[in-house]
């Protein structure tokens, strides 16, 4: 038999986490790789699943009762067993508590174990906040690098370069230290040639940044591309993707995120920041045994890290926790809520002390006005909500169609060329229009801004009548020519952003979705707001304006419309509800605008849900075929367990292992011939009475270890899973006891159980597989993949798109 063959097929081709034992050297390097404290080794209940703790009395005899490193770990692209992980953690906790009464050292150990969670949250917050500060400052600088350079110190961006110099009132943005590229190269900044030179340099820098980004991603960490949120959602529901949250992915994602944002592409950095924060969480978990060894506890930490990520992206700690609860996490115990909030606060505080934007604000587009609004304005707000919903549904459909084309046709074979072409198109189209030339965050900031008397931007160029100015209280004014120019430029920017984001999201560079959606919504909102403002100015006598908008009063705030539009579009794309409203109200710093925001968010969600059921992240999960069991949808069909279980009527019978009558050779043959991830163990083939369930990986490791280390084990040795060895003639070879890897309490349902209940069980308990019995005898098995395929089939989707197990 080809031992090397089956070993290779099962796990050697899988990538190994740096702390997971290298199975190739599993028989040699146990001592080197496994330096856990002795406490874990003595826990006999480490790999037994019933909560009973220690195994039977024969423990003393068999050194195989000691848990082997590697047993209890998972292969890449497999689902974890939540029940097993949780019971393991409970065993560990029980062990530590019982030992803490013995000595002071053990007591200290138990106290430190309890506090390790909080320490971990603190470290995650610090690291996530620092990385976010680094990303913000570098992105700010590199974005301005496309336009010019600062002679007073090349590390300053435009705003900081002009900080020290004395600018005049009329030319507030110009200062002698900041030189645009044409000024550097040919000495002056005016004229057609200078414009062309600036254009050329802008496109060159953009291409350089994006090419660098895609080459770094391809060369060092291919998992660093995309947004990251769909994959993190899948990981948090129990899937394993080795290397997705590793240190190389972290480094490359941080570096290339800055490059991608600076290259002027229509993408944001909020989604990738969640990925960065989860990488920090995963890496820091390795410092603590409690979290390193237990996949379920680790996912609690990752939920908290995701909250910290959103918190630094928006400066909204509460919004971050709610985002993690609503969008990203699968199981969110109450303990995690408090810890997530702590991590989010620490991250926000760290970012604030790094102070990336120079005014103690965490986000560039923090809003500070508190102008009142009127109930009649709810009508345009709801209109914005409808626009947001329509745009969201349109975007999801087109983006998924484009991504599917990228996946299946030749387009996907040229990722570097694709990034190059998209960046070239974006840069060439973006430069002429001032509103697309600036970075998207600055655009949003300008759109959210309420025009005061001191604003010099084109958007605020109203016809000022200084005689009627009382203090700094502005009346409503007619739009000047600057505003009209700004309007059509913004309209062009809107069209460009709507279309180019479809092709940008999902490319092989880190790309986020929040900022482009908010930009689209802000532009639409501002256009509507200025329109309403001018309508109110020219037609004070109309019935709708008569009551509340008298002559000379400034009653409509276009900045508020921009904010509501941004919330509507973001809600339409991601289908966030509570977290969106909380993030927006944390951005504005007050509860005044909560009603307009809620109205727009609800409207956009209803409109978008009427057109298509899924948000963008769920749509991407389905596109990639991840095994994600949707927790929010009801299963409403009347099928039974026996319709879904395997084997079906025409299939060969279920592959089982008997409890004490199979040899090592037989078991290895079964492992070789089939690819199932686990096998039920029955009393005998005739009775088919269930004993337990054993996992493929554990079997392989144990058999291989036994062949090497235990003497007398040959191919004809009997494997037994019972407590006491079966009686055999004395001339037979020594037997192999594998009771320690057997799960004695597998979940079973009867064949008449409705699938509603089965799906509920899978969701609530996080099962990977469930055995089906009939009259007490084992009949078949239902795996999570079968459930997902069944749901897909009933929803008339392609059941073969579920790729992973």
């Amino acid at each position: 038999m080809d031992q090397k063959g089956y070993r290779r097929g099962s796990y050697q081709s899988s990538t190994s986490d740096e702390d997971m034992v290298e199975i190739a050297g599993a028989s040699l390097d146990f001592s080197m790789a496994d330096d856990d404290p002795p406490l874990d080794r003595e826990m006999g209940g480490f790999s037994s699943y019933n909560g009973g703790g220690m195994n039977g009395t024969s423990k003393m005899m068999d050194f195989l009762e000691e848990p082997l490193p590697g047993v209890g770990t998972y292969e890449d692209f497999n689902t974890i067993d939540w029940v097993r992980e949780k019971s393991r953690d409970r065993d560990r906790h029980r062990e530590i508590t019982s030992r803490s009464k013995e000595s002071t050292w053990a007591l200290i150990h138990s106290v430190s174990d309890a506090f390790s969670g909080w320490l971990l949250m603190l470290l995650i917050g610090l690291l996530a906040g620092s990385l976010a500060g680094l990303i913000d400052i570098s992105a700010h600088w590199m974005t301005d690098l496309k336009e010019g350079v600062c002679l007073a110190g090349f590390w300053f961006n435009h705003e900081h370069c002009c900080w020290k110099s004395n600018t005049t009132f009329t030319d507030r943005d110009k200062c002698p230290e900041w030189k645009s590229w044409s000024q550097l190269i040919i000495g002056h900044g005016e004229g057609a040639f200078a414009y062309i030179l600036n254009y050329f340099m802008y496109v060159m820098w953009a291409l350089l940044f994006s090419l660098l980004a895609v080459l770094l991603v391809k060369g060092f960490a291919p998992y660093a591309c995309g947004s990251g949120i769909p994959e993190i959602k899948t990981i948090l529901s129990g899937f394993i993707i080795r290397g997705y949250l590793g240190k190389w992915t972290l480094i490359i994602k941080t570096i290339t995120l800055v490059l991608a944002v600076s290259s002027g592409l229509s993408l944001g950095k909020e989604g990738p920041l969640v990925h960065v924060a989860c990488c920090c969480g995963n890496i820091l978990c390795h410092l603590f045994t409690k979290y390193r060894k237990n996949e379920a506890k680790r996912r609690e930490v990752l939920s908290a890290a995701a909250a910290a990520g959103v918190s630094v992206a928006f400066g909204a700690p509460i919004g971050g926790v709610l985002f993690s609860l609503e969008e990203v996490s699968y199981y969110f115990p109450l303990k995690t809520l408090w810890r997530s909030f702590f991590a989010a606060l620490v991250a926000a505080f760290t970012l604030r002390s790094i102070n990336p934007f120079g005014n103690s604000r965490l986000v560039l587009f923090y809003v500070e006005f508190h102008m009142p609004w009127h109930l009649l304005e709810l009508i345009p707000f709801i209109l914005l909500g409808i626009f947001g919903g329509l745009w969201g549904a349109f975007f999801i459909r087109s983006n998924i169609a484009w991504c599917r084309r990228r996946k299946t046709t030749k387009l996907g074979k040229y990722p570097v060329l694709e990034v190059f072409v998209v960046t070239a198109i974006t840069a060439v189209l973006a430069f002429p229009n001032e509103y697309t030339r600036m970075s998207t965050s600055e655009l949003i900031s300008e759109l959210f801004n309420d025009c005061g008397i001191l604003d010099s931007s084109k958007l605020c160029e109203y016809v000022n009548d200084f005689n009627s100015t009382k203090g700094d209280d502005l009346p409503d004014r007619a739009a000047g020519p600057g505003v009209y120019t700004a309007m059509w430029q913004l309209a062009l920017a809107l069209i460009m952003k709507v279309f180019i984001t479809i092709f940008t999201f999902g490319m092989k560079v880190p790309s986020g979705l929040f900022i482009p959606s908010m930009a689209v919504g802000a532009i639409a909102g501002r256009l509507l707001g200025v329109g309403m403002e001018q309508l109110a100015f020219y037609h004070h006598d109309w019935v709708i304006f008569n009551g509340w908008c008298s002559q000379g009063a400034d009653c409509i705030t276009p900045g508020l419309y921009a904010m509501v539009g941004a919330a509507a579009c973001l809600g339409g794309v991601t289908r966030m509800t509570v977290s969106l409203v909380v993030i927006m109200f944390e951005l504005t710093g007050g509860l005044e605008y909560i009603v307009p925001l809620m109205a727009a968010a609800m409207t956009s969600k209803w409109v978008a849900d009427a057109i298509g059921r899924e948000g963008i992240y769920d749509a991407h999960i389905r596109l990639n075929g991840y095994p994600f069991l949707e927790a929010k949808e009801e299963f409403s069909h009347k099928t039974l367990a026996m319709d879904v279980m395997r084997p079906r009527r025409n299939d060969p019978p279920l592959t089982v292992i008997t409890q004490d009558s199979m040899t090592v050779e037989d078991v290895e043959a079964i492992i070789n011939e089939t690819t199932y991830s686990g096998y039920p163990v029955v009393v005998s083939r005739e009775s088919q009475r269930l004993v337990g369930f054993v996992l493929r990986r554990d079997l392989i490791i144990s058999i291989e270890n036994a062949r090497k280390k235990q003497d007398g084990i040959v191919s004809t040795s009997i494997i037994y899973f019972t407590d006491h060895s079966p009686p055999l003639p004395p001339s037979s070879p020594s037997m192999l006891k594998l009771r320690s890897i057997l799960d004695l309490s597998p979940f079973t349902v009867t064949d008449q159980t409705p699938m509603e209940i089965v799906v509920d069980i899978f969701r609530k308990l996080g099962l990977r597989q469930c055995l089906v019995t009939h009259n007490g005898k084992l009949l078949g098995i239902i795996t999570k993949k079968d459930v997902l395929k069944h749901i897909a089939q009933l929803a008339n989707q392609d059941p073969d798109s579920i790729l992973f197990n």
Binding site: S13, T15, S16, E18, D19, A24, L28, M32, L123, L127, S130, L131, G133, I137, S138, W155, F156, H160, W163, N166, T167, F169, T170, R172, L212, L216, K218, G219, A221, P222, Y223, C225, E231, G243, W248, I251, I252, I255, L284, H286, L287, S353, I354, N355, G358, N359, R406, K407, G412, P415, G452, I453, L454, T469, G471, D472, K508, N624, G625, L803
Partner: protein, 205 residues
């Protein structure tokens, strides 16, 4: 700045020759953490980094002007900053109502340090990529590993697995061999990831 910042690559484990893997990983993380945490601590506020900025619009026949002055936050208002006052005494209040004063602070040290760290990391990564693409195939035996930037074929799987554990029986004792082993493992990992994402499009489309 602590030299721990440069310890971002597996090769850097050469320095921690006495430690096992776990110890080295912890050291790496602690070094990274303290180097990152040192940044806000080093951001000292020099006097050129705080200011109060008052913008005053045009008023009657006086043109608009911007006033900067280095004062503390409680003194940041029109009366302290706008000097010389362009309007006579009884108009000062009306003029000051129009002016908008903001207190701003920044840290030039932080900005400089962060940009320099960022550029050095990018430079180091580019150098490493150049090394892997150009120099590495010449040093190594020719059958081991092809250029990492091209799409891989399916039979690479068999070849790389066959060549990987060449000292399969012997323990990787010396630090250099351990580093070699780590680098080979990492390369295999990246190859697998590249196949999953770029070739088979199984993930992240």
């Amino acid at each position: 700045l602590s030299p721990g910042c440069e310890f971002l690559f597996p090769q850097a484990l050469m320095m921690s020759a006495q430690c096992t893997w776990r110890c080295a990983n912890s050291l790496l993380l602690v070094a990274l953490l303290c180097c990152i945490l040192l940044l806000p601590a080093q951001a000292s506020k020099s006097s050129e980094d705080i200011r109060c900025k008052c913008i005053c619009p045009p008023y009657r026949n006086i043109s608009g002007h911007i006033y900067n002055k280095n004062v503390s936050q409680k003194d940041c208002n029109c009366l302290h900053v706008v000097e010389p006052m362009p309007v006579p005494g009884n108009d000062v209040e009306a003029y000051c109502l129009l002016c908008e004063c903001k207190y701003e602070e920044r840290s030039t040290t932080t900005i400089k340090v962060i940009i320099i760290i960022y550029l050095s990391v990018v430079g180091a990564l580019l150098l490493y990529m150049a090394f892997l693409v150009l120099v590495d195939p010449l040093i190594r035996k020719p059958d081991a590993y092809t250029q990492p930037l091209h799409n891989e074929e399916e039979n690479e799987d068999a070849r790389s697995l066959a060549t990987v554990p060449t000292p399969s029986g012997a323990r990787a004792n010396t630090v250099l061999e351990r580093v070699e082993g780590a680098q080979q493992r990492w390369k295999r990992q990246v190859q697998e990831q590249r196949k999953t994402v770029f070739d088979r499009h199984k993930m992240l489309s």
